[in-house]
């Protein structure tokens, strides 16, 4: 391996107003090397990378490329220095083809899509990608879109690749495939920087690990000489217990029975297809699946927010012992029964919280019907807000700060905290730790566990399979709106779940080939 520095950062500092996002960060990446950048949320990983990619400009410090000091003032400068960044949220135009997206913004030479398609094809061959250059983005799977992003930077001749949490949206198999590609690129002499907070990926892929904590640079270690415990300590600043305490379910009685539900979206495409399962009280039922396989619709169907084409959702009311059919009830009636939904969508504020309202008012969204006077009762919600802020360590100037101003992780804590505070009988949490740092994530896991021990039926939709396996009692896998399997979380393996996740997708791929 050639030990030549491809890019070197010296004492980079960047502040947004009074918040220091990066302070005195030093990094070196050699050619033919993979560097992981590890850090909790808000530790400034993405900010740092955005400075290399020309989206932000550093306040202080120097950047050297191939030993020469450079100024990167715009994304265009970054291209010129052969730096390519693959953002966490893909920057692709949906109705364009893969090739159109790849050549977008390039200004050299004649505009010739045919020739570009050929070059894209050549890059695919070289690194082993499988993408049709003429396919439209909106018909692609997440992993195909990511591939297009990678080809895009390679097409521009990038020698330094930055990937911002590339595995967050991939199945284990797809992650493996991506890592193979990255290793091949490393062997081809490219310098690769990968941002992640999944420790096992860091250990299996990278050559070196740089750790950031709250914007400060903690240090760089060689992957071969470190382990999970040391990295976590560097990341968090203290030793953290990374075990989820999983108790055996006690008196698990069926609480929620879902019978053969079908559901279509506005375009008439089936999003849930003959889904049946039982959620027990005192148990955490995990739901695994590729993003957008019907998880959202499933939870919304139970909460009464989705119209079902057929099927029934039965609720075993612990107060009366009767079975009640939730499909005939309004969302409000369902909530009053104790069925609670906390869904954390990708944009976080999309559902459940109102961004312009403060924490207290957001608490009130769930309690405004109570109280006898004409005026709103603010005392209860205020106490609850303060309780949540303290208990879940929400970082906010006060309880009367608009939720929109909080960072993503803190918004999530407010949402999950509120739903748990209502002492539910069924708690549905979708991606409650999305983007949270390790500490906050474990706070949420413990909260879910507490609820389970209190006899609540918890349905947990998660992304990280390692967590699902550690936290849940049973894991249900959903693929293209169908339940493709239910496994025991204590004995199942990641690979097994990964296979189930892609099961129906594999079927449609075969169909596609038949047509061609």
């Amino acid at each position: 391996m050639a030990q030549k520095a491809a890019i070197e950062l010296k004492n980079i500092t960047k502040a947004f107003g009074s918040v220091v996002a990066n302070k005195d960060v030093c990094l070196t990446v050699n050619k033919g090397e993979i560097l992981s950048i590890l850090g909790e949320n808000g530790s400034g990983k993405t900010t740092l990378m955005n400075m290399i990619a020309g989206i932000y400009f550093p306040d202080e410090g120097q950047i050297f490329i191939d030993g020469e000091e450079v100024v990167i003032a715009s994304p265009k400068d970054a291209f010129d220095y052969k730096i390519g960044m693959i953002h966490q949220h893909f920057k692709l135009v949906d109705i364009f083809t893969a090739t159109e997206n790849i050549v977008l913004g390039l200004e050299d030479g004649k505009f010739d899509l045919k020739n570009a398609e050929k070059q894209v094809h050549d890059i695919c061959e070289k690194y082993g990608f499988e993408v049709d250059p003429k396919k439209k983005i909106y018909t692609m799977s997440v992993s195909e879109k990511q591939t297009v992003e990678i080809i895009k930077v390679l097409y521009r001749g990038a020698d330094i690749l930055i990937l911002d949490e590339p595995t967050a949206v991939l199945t284990p198999q797809e992650t493996q495939r991506l890592f193979d590609v990255l290793r091949r690129m490393r062997d081809d002499g490219k310098a690769i920087i990968i941002i992640t907070h999944k420790l096992h990926e860091v250990l299996s892929l990278s050559d070196k690990v740089a750790v950031l904590r709250k914007g400060e640079y903690v240090g760089t270690v060689n992957t071969a000489e470190t382990n999970e415990a040391q990295l976590t300590e560097m990341m968090v600043g203290k030793k953290v217990e990374l075990n989820i305490h999983r108790s055996e379910p006690k008196d698990a009685v069926p609480r929620l029975e879902v019978h053969h539900i079908d559901c279509s979206n506005r375009e008439g495409v089936k999003v849930l297809d003959d889904v049946s399962f039982i959620a027990n009280a005192g148990e955490i039922l995990g739901v695994a699946g590729i993003a957008g396989s019907g998880q959202r619709e499933l939870l919304e169907a139970i909460a009464g927010l989705q119209r079902l084409d057929s099927g029934a959702v039965l609720y075993n009311n612990p107060k009366t012992g009767n079975m009640e059919n939730l499909t005939t009830k309004t969302p409000l009636q369902i909530r009053e029964l104790g069925v609670r939904l906390s869904f954390v969508p990708e944009d976080r504020l999309g559902m459940g919280l109102v961004g312009n309202m403060d924490i207290v008012d957001n608490m009130m969204l769930r309690s405004y019907r109570r109280g006898k006077s004409v005026f709103l009762e603010r005392k209860g919600p205020k106490d609850l807000a303060e309780h949540i802020i303290e208990e879940l360590e929400v970082v906010t100037p006060s309880a009367s700060t608009p939720v929109r101003r909080l960072s993503g992780g803190n918004v999530q804590k407010v949402l999950v905290g509120r739903e748990i505070a209502a002492s539910p009988t069924v708690l549905m949490a979708a991606y409650p730790v999305r983007g949270l740092d390790i500490n906050s994530s474990y706070t949420i896991y413990n909260l879910l566990n507490e609820q389970k021990e209190r006899g609540v039926a918890v349905i947990f939709v998660g992304e990280d399979l390692d967590v699902l396996l550690e936290l849940c009692d049973r894991i249900m896998v959903i693929g293209s709106g169908r339940i493709t399997g239910v496994v025991d979380a204590r004995t199942a393996t990641k690979e097994q779940i990964g296979l189930l996740m892609t099961k129906t997708e594999a079927l449609t791929w075969e169909g596609g080939e038949d047509r061609a």
Partner: protein
Amino acid sequence: MIGTIIRYLSSSIPLGVPLLYGSTGEIVTEKSGHLNLGIPGIMYVGSISGVIGAFLYEQACGNRLANMNPALAILIPLLSCIIGSVLMGLIYSFLTVTLRVNQNVTGLALTTFGVGLGNFFGGSLAKLVDSELPNIILTNTSSFYDVSLPFAAKLGWFGEIFLSHDFLTYLAIAVAILTSLVLNRTRMGLNLRAVGENPATADAAGINVTRYKYLATCIGSAIAGLGGLQYVMVYADGVWSNNAFGDRGWMAIALVIFALWKPTMAIIGSFLFGMLCNLNNYMPQFGVPLGTDTQELFNMLPYVVTILVLIITSMRKKREHQPPQSLGLPYFREER
């Protein structure tokens, strides 16, 4: 009867031309992600700017046809029309692109403003020549504009329907086809479409989003303004009267949806709309006498067709037929 049909078709085409200019201009603007509801106002201003230019030139020539230079008689109104429309486009783009004001509010305000401005100058010019009516008569200039192709008369019905029109009609079709080519076949078009679909992506790809938005809005406005000029110089035979332009601007915006954001479809659509608008003039000649009440029903036809098209396109949800994805949304790089 055949003669009536030929006359009907031939007279429908000039009616469609302002719509074609308006909708082509609006398509260019919308492709950059800006819904410009100011188009009616911009077309109105384009119209009055052309009138002002023509008026001043006619005055300078002492209102005598013989003194006028044909090239100047065409170029002066044409340029003043473009300048007027582009200024309106600049107001719109400054407000919506730079200041990120709500696009719908800005557009509606601009329409109100444009119509008021047009009527103000229309009234003032009429006062200057001590006209009894609030009209400005520019038949001299119009005679330079409304010149049909020389060989039209020799080609019978084909000549009368397709070749007997003025140069602005053919320019409208050429502009629409050219726009279509630029949008779909060039790098500039690809970049513009990317800006309208997903400005953050375009920005990250190194495209100057602000420049594209300004240019698309201003070029779109210039194209739309020509529709106003064609209306007054050709269709109205050089007679400006306040508010005569009517709701053609709104129809042009409706036409954009009808055309599914494709300039080539707008060509078909605008002449179809022209025929529909012309129908109530010709129904009596086709042997169906119209009362004032039924006449209004016929005036409704273009809008009914637009609604039908909306219903049909929303039923077959094809991604390619949707408006640009970030249409109407302001773009700010640092917003997360």
